[in-house]
Symmetry: C2
Subunit: 173 residues, 2 copies
DNA sequence: TTTCCCATGTAATCAGTTACATGATTAG
DNA sequence: CTAATCATGTAACTGATTACATGGGAAA
C-alpha cells in the first residue's frame, strides 16, 4: 500500500488537494519512485480520511478539498520509513527493457542504446540546471527535493555511462 | 503488460517451465526490474500459449510443462524492445522511501541511511565476485547476464555514494 | 517416514488503468 | 466566447497478491 505512504509523504510537506497531489506525483515521484493517477488518488484520500491519517483542512471553490496530514498519519509514515518491509517491490519497465537487451542482436541493441544515451544527456542537463537554480535560491540550505534531484542526476549519469559501456562491449563481440 | 514481455525475454534464452521461470524471475528480474509470483506466471503462460507467443515444447513428470518461445513471440518481444511506449511506468518502494527521507529528522534519516549503505556494500561485494567468476569462465565473451550484473553493480555503487553524500548533507544542516 | 523441494493451479481480494462524466474559473 | 486549466469523481476492467489446495519425487 505504498500509494498511501507516498501521499502521506507529500502531505507531510504541506497540505494539498487531490488535484495538487496528482500534479506533485507527476512532478516528483512518477519518474523514479511511484506512479499514480487521479482516479486512484481521490478514492485513496477518502479512505485515508476514514482511517484518520489525513483530515479535510479546508473546502474551497469547485468542491476543492484541501487535505492535511494528522499526527496518526505522521506516525504511520515514520513507522513505514524506519521499519520497512524486508522485500521491496519493484516494477520498472525501463529497467526491464535494459535487462532484456541481451535478447537483441548488435544492430537492434544499438537502436535501443543510442537514443537512450541521448535522452540521459538531456535529463542530466535539465537536472543540473534545476539543481544550480535551487542551490542559488536556497543559499546552501537543504530544501525539499534537493536530495531527490541529486539522486536523479547521479542515476542518469550512471545509466548513461553503463549504456555507453554496454554499447562498446556489444560492438566488439 | 510487461509481465508478458519479461517472460518472453526469459524464454528467448531457453525453454523453461512455469516453475523455472518463477525461479528465474526471483534471481534475475525481481530486484531491479519486475516482480511476479507463480500465481501470476502460470495463468499468464496459459494465455500466452493461447495467443501463440509460446508453445508447450514438452510435458514431463508431475504435470510439468516446458514452454518455448515461438517466432511470433520473438517478433512481439523485438517489437516491444525497439518501439517502446513513450512513458515507462515505475513502481519502486525502495526509491520511494529514499525520496521521502526529507520527511524525517536527522536522527531518523541516519537510522535509514547507515544500514542502507551497509547493505549496498554487501551487494557490491557479491556482484563483484559474481562478475569476476563469470568473466574468468567466459574468457572475455559477453554471456547472458553480464550486462545486468554490471548494471546492478553500478547502480548499487551510485546508491551507496548518494546515501553517503545525503548523510553528510543532513548531518551539517 | 518424514521433510524438503519440485510442480501446478484456483478463488477471493485488492491495486491500478482506462474511459466516462461533469462542471467552474481564468486568460486571451 | 472559447480554449485551457482547475477540480472531482465513478464504473468497468485488467493486473497483481494472498491464501488455499494438491500431490509427486528425492534424500536423510
Amino acid at each position: 500500500m505504498s500509494l498511501r505512504h507516498a501521499l502521506l509523504g507529500l502531505l507531510s510537506d504541506e497540505p494539498a488537494s487531490g488535484y495538487e497531489l496528482t500534479r506533485r506525483f507527476e512532478k516528483a515521484l512518477q519518474r523514479y519512485a511511484w506512479h499514480a493517477q487521479h482516479s486512484q488518488i481521490y478514492p485513496e484520500l477518502t479512505k485515508m480520511a476514514a482511517d484518520s491519517l489525513v483530515t479535510v483542512a479546508a473546502e474551497g471553490a469547485r468542491g476543492r478539498r484541501t487535505y492535511a496530514i494528522t499526527d496518526a498519519g505522521r506516525a504511520e509514515l515514520r513507522r513505514w520509513m524506519l521499519d520497512p518491509p524486508e522485500t521491496f517491490v519493484v516494477r520498472d519497465e525501463g529497467t526491464l527493457r535494459l535487462f532484456l537487451l541481451s535478447t537483441l542482436d548488435a544492430d537492434d541493441a544499438r537502436t535501443v542504446l543510442v537514443p537512450l544515451i541521448d535522452s540521459c544527456e538531456r535529463e542530466i542537463a535539465a537536472l543540473r540546471k534545476g539543481i544550480a537554480d535551487a542551490d542559488a535560491a536556497s543559499g546552501g540550505g537543504l530544501p525539499f527535493g534537493r536530495l531527490v534531484a541529486e539522486y536523479g542526476l547521479r542515476s542518469f549519469e550512471t545509466l548513461r555511462d553503463w549504456a555507453s559501456w554496454a554499447l562498446e562491449r556489444i560492438e566488439h563481440n
